[in-house]
Subunit: 343 residues, 2 copies
């Protein structure tokens, strides 16, 4: 088993080292081929390591960084005024080939801007996309873009389709993942101009991608396609609306179960079933969004991720390193672009 080295922005997210350090130690204990570099304030990190029990500390390195990108920092501030931030230094380690991937729970806009500036885009990709794996009735679905790009050209959606298809194929061992374009109806006449033109590009250049046409919002969770493509505005709203609905249902369920003694009794009886259900839907199982289209692997963890969820993001980074995702995207895009130019 070849070893994998990942840099962690240890100061990022709502919890910083308190979550990142124990998650790191836990991952090291689980994966003997894993090496981790904790980037951040040495003193805080050493203190947190002492507090956290864990094996594999020999495969853990601390790399000092003096600054922290705050959740409210605009991307330009993070990029220009925080050149020694834990986020920037972690990405530098990927650029310099010291680490093969980095994971950060920090500010998405800043992460995107720094990653793009430091690592650069793959040839043929105009904009990076955030791709997230969500649960579906048939397993899971990769949705992109989830917020990196609020306005997209048809060409961008086409590139997202190619990148998403390569990712799904690599990480799911799925030789022919289905790709759907998110729209407000399945008929050809429906939708915005941008989506219709993207559909045309996908239909004309259907080489290597298994494009299945338009899908609608409910298809995300039906498992109609392995990859769902949309612009970042639509994707972000759909994801957050889903989160909001899930939280509301959970809150109402708690209210119903706890408003009477009979309800409390029923909750007790049903608890093994409810636990098993919430395990299937547990958002921490799906933590770790990829920033696709970069010359390197950057994984975004949810800002308020707890230890288990941050561990999932480390797992996603490992998988993309093992499957060599950026190189595969580059190859596929080169083929696609060849076709596009030939058309």
């Amino acid at each position: 088993m070849t070893s994998v080295c990942i840099a962690l922005d240890a100061m990022g997210g709502d919890h910083g080292p308190k979550v990142v350090v124990p998650a790191a130690l836990n991952a090291l204990a689980s994966y003997p081929n894993l090496q981790l570099i904790l980037v951040g304030n040495r003193e805080q990190l050493e203190q947190q390591i002492r507090l956290s029990a864990g094996n594999g500390q020999s495969r853990l390195i601390i790399h000092e960084a003096t600054q922290v990108v705050e959740m409210g920092d605009p991307p330009a501030v993070a990029l220009r005024q925080k050149r020694d931030s834990s986020m920037r230094v972690a990405i530098n380690l990927v650029k310099d080939g010291v680490a093969e991937a980095c994971v950060s729970a920090g500010n998405t806009g800043a992460l995107m801007a720094i990653a793009r500036f430091v690592l650069k885009m793959l040839p043929g990709v105009d904009r990076p996309a955030i791709v997230y794996s969500l649960p579906s009735m048939t397993g899971h679905v990769h949705v992109l873009d989830l917020g990196a790009n609020v306005n997209c050209e048809p060409q961008d959606l086409f590139q997202f389709a190619v990148m998403g298809s390569v990712l799904a194929s690599a990480v799911d061992n799925n030789p022919r993942p289905t790709v759907g374009l998110l729209n407000v109806g399945s008929e050809a006449i429906k939708g915005s101009l941008q989506v219709k033109q993207a559909a045309e590009l996908l239909e004309k250049n259907n080489c290597g991608i298994h494009y299945i046409g338009y899908v609608e919002g409910d298809d995300i969770y039906k498992g109609t396609a392995d990859v769902v493509v949309c612009d970042g505005f639509v994707g972000n709203v759909a994801l957050k609306a889903s989160e909001g609905l899930a939280k509301m249902v959970l809150k109402m369920a708690r209210e119903e179960f706890f408003k009477s003694w009979y309800g409390r009794f029923a909750a007790l009886i049903a608890s093994p079933i409810l636990r098993s259900l919430s395990k299937r839907l547990d958002p921490s199982r799906y933590n770790g969004a990829s920033l696709l289209g970069l010359r390197g692997i950057v994984i975004k963890s949810h800002g308020n991720a707890e230890q288990k969820a941050f561990g999932m993001a480390i797992r996603v980074a490992m998988l993309e390193v093992e499957k060599n995702v950026p190189e595969k995207i580059q190859k596929q895009l080169a083929t696609q672009l060849g076709h596009l130019q030939a058309v």
Copy 2:
């Protein structure tokens, strides 16, 4: 109590007269001030009335229409080739002042096109919007647009905000409903150009609307605002994604409860609680979307609505008639437009 007369497109939707007729008879029994006009094939309607038990038949009139708009008919076909469709005739009855509102479960695109052509827009409104009431943690929220307009100008979003505010104020007896603009973040720098410009219009012309700024996808269900404004593409995807997630959770819950004998026992014990929960979330309670901005009241029922849900759509139409919604929108818009021109 003044009487209210509503025309029903009795042939529309997936179920046609089989749902519309019993729902109509049921509504007549519940509301002694209600008069209904069933529009469609007389023979089929009379047969269905004989089959359905119900009071109030003296307040029920059949109005013959020889054509039916099919769910797959493009708007142009419905508009030009089906001038005697049940949908068109029901809307004509509103235009002619015979009915004060109409309800249809038919094809949304066709309904929108015919309503716009026959009734015309209110002065100052460029495009109609579909507004839907959704459950939220604090009660319910009015979201618009939910699919009528896939591309919107900032001016359209501004008009949606005014119309949504008037609707919420009228039907909820809420003197100062809060209005949020759906975006991908709450900071001023986030979002598409269209949304930023709409925010500017709302901030500059904050006369009569209680505009609270940007809201995100999860705010829909949190109850952060009484009215959430977005373009039809985003609204449609968010609504359908929510529906899809809800269905998936329900399916998984069934699987978990029914995969073992213990689970079946737990389901039995928990059934009063689960029933009470699903009653709170029951989509049929929220059926009946308004087409706002027209010179008349048109309510769209879900295509696959059952009797109870169609009855809710009739109730929504009654409420808008009683509250005189189009006239209130017209007044508010006249004020807003005066302000806009004065700026």
